[in-house]
């Protein structure tokens, strides 16, 4: 079983490749100059990774595209890890898979020299640390959810140096499966791209929450295809940027079957001269009647130098569809500021409190 998963994953990796910066035009950034400034990769120790690891929880760490640290195998929830030989030496694929008694099969592939097998209780969250110390690196996590399977991932992106890090997650959800992903960028990055390709069968669900602090260039792209009747995708992202950091979110949600639903909430808080953008398309295929889609983009500008661009788009080719989208770009509400100041908050404290509240609508979804 694991053997076939290895080869499937290697094939998927070969097909997908690692995300690259050429996927779209970068509106504000000269990637060449950033790439020239990348540092050489370096060795990291446990102390470097300590802030991102919880020893009592199942986890593994990838540093610069290589397996680095495997979590404990004796934890409640029966998570276990086994390093395997790579099945595909040409691509140096690495594999992560669960056993057959659990309804989940995962595969991980990238330019690693190892393969990794995992088995465990799909109800227990698995933390994955994607750390980058320097140079370009990338890897792909492939998740196959069997009918009714549940999978909860906590992905932490950690920048430990000037690096270009590309992360891709590909997930196939069978009927009734549920994938929950919490994706957190803990430190500003030089170049960080995160790409998700999700395929949802009948009655399957994705609940995805991302929190970004931005960097010289941080880009998230989420592609979700709702292929089965009753499938649903609930996506929320927060870009909380300061200084000259940038964060860009691209989503493509395709309703390809009847009675599918999607909810997207993308919020930003921009301080200083930071920049964010959203480029989003909700597509409804012919025959996907009963679609219920909603996209909301709310941008909070804290500085006159900050800039938020938004481009929500609908492409509807079915008749019986409920689709809504809205985008706002604004400053903190003047009445809310006044109310807090009349209760003794300084302008700085009021700004911090109100913008914290703004963030919580997305951050409150995180469990870790």
């Amino acid at each position: 079983m694991i053997g076939s998963s290895v080869s499937d994953a290697a094939a998927a990796a070969a097909r997908l490749g690692a995300p690259t910066t050429t996927l779209e035009d970068w509106r504000y950034v000269r990637v060449d100059s950033l790439q020239a400034a990348l540092e050489a990769p370096r060795r990291v120790g446990a102390a470097d990774l300590a802030p991102w690891l919880v020893e009592e929880e199942p986890s593994f760490v990838v540093v610069d595209g290589q397996f680095h640290h495997l979590g404990r195998a004796d934890l409640p929830g029966v998570w276990g890890f086994r390093v395997m030989e790579a099945a595909d030496q040409a691509r140096s694929a690495a594999i992560l898979a669960t056993t057959t008694e659990l309804p989940t099969v995962w595969a991980l592939a990238g330019p690693c020299q190892q393969a990794l097998a995992v088995r465990g209780d799909a109800g227990v969250p698995l933390t994955i640390v994607n750390a980058a110390t320097g140079g370009p690196s990338g890897w792909t996590l492939r998740c196959e959810l069997a009918p009714g399977a549940r999978l909860h991932l906590v992905i932490r992106h950690a920048a430990l140096g000037k690096a270009r890090s590309a992360f891709r997650l590909e997930a196939d959800l069978s009927r009734g499966a549920h994938l929950t992903v919490e994706e957190i960028q803990a430190t500003p990055a030089t170049i960080l791209t995160s790409q998700a390709d999700l395929t949802l069968a009948q009655d399957s669900q994705v609940t995805w929450t991302s929190c970004w602090t931005g960097g010289d260039l941080v880009r998230q792209r989420l592609d979700a295809t709702l292929q089965g009747r009753g499938a649903s995708c609930d996506f929320a992202a927060l870009a909380d940027t300061a200084g000259t950091a940038q964060a860009h979110v691209v989503t493509r949600v395709r309703h390809a079957a009847p009675n599918t639903s999607s909810r997207q909430l993308i919020k930003t808080v921009l301080a200083d001269a930071s920049r964010t953008s959203l480029d989003s398309v909700i597509a409804v295929d012919p025959g996907a009647d009963g679609t219920d889609a909603d996209l909301q983009n709310r941008n909070l500008i804290l500085s006159p130098l900050a800039r938020a661009d938004t481009r929500p788009q609908l492409d509807i080719r079915a008749d019986e569809v409920k689709a809504a989208h809205g985008a706002t770009i604004g400053r903190l509400d003047a009445d809310e500021m006044l109310y807090l100041r009349m209760r003794g908050f300084s302008e700085t404290e009021a700004t911090a409190t109100l913008s914290h509240g703004w963030r919580d609508e997305v951050r409150g979804r995180l469990t870790r």
């Binding site: 509400d333 009445d335 809310e336 006044l338 109310y339 807090l340 100041r341 009349m342 209760r343 003794g344 908050f345 300084s346 302008e347 404290e349 409190t353 109100l354 914290h356 509240g357 703004w358 963030r359 919580d360 609508e361």
Partner: protein
């Protein structure tokens, strides 16, 4: 305690206050009544430092401090509490955390140690009991999803938590049912002390039967047109404002 002399203010080109005089002593309750649009709410806003208003003349001092020279938050920290007729909803901010931050701003101002969340929780629960406000208000977002009456009671909770020396309560009784008015009145009375004073803006004598005023003023056309004892409120209840505004 609070002395307002010939206070004049405008919004843009429009004059709102045309010379208000009022002297509020410690322990006193003054009621301000008057027709709609007479400047009652504006008086509170001007005292609080609302940025829409420009003070064009006169003065206001609180315990000898020039109130009008202070920033908005400095006026609050100096001991002035001005309630809102329609308190703003702030859905992302938890009521308890808002109160803790506001209380700590005062404690910092007084060089007192701040309260952490663990110590604050039992303290504010006791305050809520004293203020006769249901404990579940503390778990809600600030004013969000509350009825008009609940928002008013939430402001009374703030009054108890923040311990100002002067409370300007702007139509706190509007939107409240009879039982809620009784509860709010009892809460205001529980807050009163010899070193604290209240300005009650109201349209109805019912609240003044429960929170007894020392003085009643009629504000019309941006000025105090008439002042008297509690009997003035009774007369207004019977006869309306016409006889004063005509004078």
């Amino acid at each position: 305690m609070l002395t307002i002399s010939n206070l004049q203010a405008a919004v843009g080109e429009k004059t709102i206050l045309r010379g208000v005089d009022l002297d509020l002593a410690p322990g006193q309750v003054h009621a301000i009544m008057g027709p709609n649009g007479s400047g009652k709410t504006s008086l509170g806003r001007v005292l609080a430092g609302h940025p829409a208003y420009t003070v064009t003349g006169g003065s206001a001092t609180l315990d000898g401090k020039d109130l009008l020279a202070l920033d908005i938050e400095e006026r609050a920290l100096a001991g002035l509490f001005v309630s809102w007729q329609y308190p703003v909803e702030v859905p992302g901010v938890a009521n308890t955390e808002f109160l803790r931050l506001a209380v700590n701003a005062r404690r910092r101002h007084r060089d007192e140690p701040e309260l952490n969340a663990k110590d604050f929780a039992p303290w504010i629960a006791e305050v809520a009991k004293t203020a006769q406000v249901p404990a579940d208000y503390l778990t809600k977002p600030l004013n969000a999803g509350m009825s008009g009456g609940q928002k008013k009671r939430n402001e009374i909770l703030q009054l108890h938590a923040l311990s100002p020396s002067v409370a300007f309560l702007d139509e706190t009784d509007s939107g409240l049912d009879i039982d809620a008015i009784k509860s709010v009145a009892a809460s205001i009375n529980a807050w009163r002390r010899a070193d604290r004073a209240v300005i009650l803006v109201t349209h109805f004598q019912r609240l003044l039967e429960m929170v007894k005023p020392d003085r009643v003023h009629v504000l019309a056309d941006g000025r105090i047109q008439q002042s008297g004892g509690p009997e003035l409120a009774e007369q207004l209840e019977r006869e309306g404002y016409d006889w004063i505004v005509r004078v």
